[in-house]
């Protein structure tokens, strides 16, 4: 009887804990799933931009033109600076990396490192001059020069009144011929959201 009472009270305590405690609940969701919580920029927007850019950049005329002009030699692209001129903190790397990955996966465009990663590579090469064996030491001056630079910008417009808000994002990516400064491709993705508080 005592045990029954004890079990009952234990179950009651556990139930009340489960009912009234403020335990955080975390559920794994698919990155492909669209979940809008605040109306701010989120992973779905980034994915939409990446999908659009990847699809258009590899299907545009600049690639065929380059291959024709250069006897089938694949173009070499470097990723330049991205400017976030929107009202939110957005890191373009989330979708630019997808575009870079598409370049490598499709084997149609060659990619070279730039910025801080390139600095690190050069520093590693410099270190090898003193520490690596002669047969494995990498030489300076043999890097691949990029033919094109990929640059981009994110802009936004916010229109709000009382509890309603429309947010418009425009993401632009541009591919420019480094030799001639000619813009050979512009990709854009426009996203508009209606938010009601």
């Amino acid at each position: 009887m005592k045990l029954k009472h004890f079990l009952f009270s234990a179950a009651l305590t556990a139930a009340s804990f489960a009912l009234f405690s403020c335990a955080r609940q975390v559920t794994r969701v698919s990155p492909e799933e669209t979940i809008d919580i605040s109306g701010n920029w989120n992973n779905s927007d980034s994915r939409m931009v990446a999908d659009e850019m990847t699809k258009t950049i590899l299907g545009a005329d600049w690639l065929a033109d380059h291959l024709e002009k250069n006897a089938g030699k694949k173009p070499v692209v470097i990723v330049g600076m991205m400017q976030n001129k929107s009202h939110e903190h957005i890191d373009a790397e989330t979708f630019v990396k997808d575009v870079e990955r598409a370049f490598i996966q499709t084997q149609r465009v060659r990619l070279v490192q730039g910025g801080k990663k390139r600095e690190e590579l050069r520093a590693e090469k410099a270190d090898q001059q003193d520490n690596a064996s002669l047969s494995t030491m990498k030489k300076f001056g043999l890097e691949n020069g990029a033919d094109y630079i990929l640059q981009g910008s994110i802009n936004s417009i916010v229109d709000s009144h009382k509890k309603q808000k429309v947010v418009y994002y425009q993401v632009n990516l541009e591919l420019t011929d480094i030799q001639t400064n000619e813009v050979v491709w512009i990709g854009d993705k426009k996203i508009a959201k209606y938010v009601k508080n």
């Binding site: 600076m81 009202h87 903190h89 730039g114 910025g115 801080k116 709000s160």
Partner: protein, 125 residues
């Protein structure tokens, strides 16, 4: 020095000149003043390429009516709180002091009346 020697030295001089100025006059259409630009950008390329591959945040603050109202409210509360602290007649330790029967801790210990209204002391005071 015979003629052959003079020719050899002239050839070597020409070769070294061409090697040093390898960038120069490669294309007939190239601007002859390109070296000026080359020198200018060679000196600053490190700083210009510092942010290559990264996102420069040049965000702006968009006007959001709903958010602006919340911010105004927060500012108002903050200002009132500071005013209350600055007021010498305010002795209550607890904030806010609105409402009857608010049980809290004041400078007389635990009490059902921490205060009534703004800038006031206890209910009976």
């Amino acid at each position: 020095m015979n003629k052959k020697g003079i020719f050899h030295s002239f050839f070597l001089l020409l070769l070294s000149f061409l090697t040093v100025n390898a960038q120069e006059v490669k294309f007939s259409d190239q601007n002859p003043n390109f070296n000026r630009s080359l020198q200018r950008y060679a000196a600053t390329s490190d700083s210009l390429l510092r942010y290559q591959g990264s996102t420069i945040q040049q965000t702006y603050k968009a006007y959001d009516w709903y958010q602006a109202r919340a911010e105004r409210k927060a500012l108002r509360r903050e200002r009132r709180h500071l005013e209350r602290i600055a007021n010498p007649s305010y002795n209550d330790w607890y904030y806010p002091s609105i409402g009857l029967g608010y049980y809290g801790y004041n400078n007389w210990g635990w009490s059902p009346y921490v205060g009534v209204g703004f800038n006031s002391r206890s209910f009976w005071y």
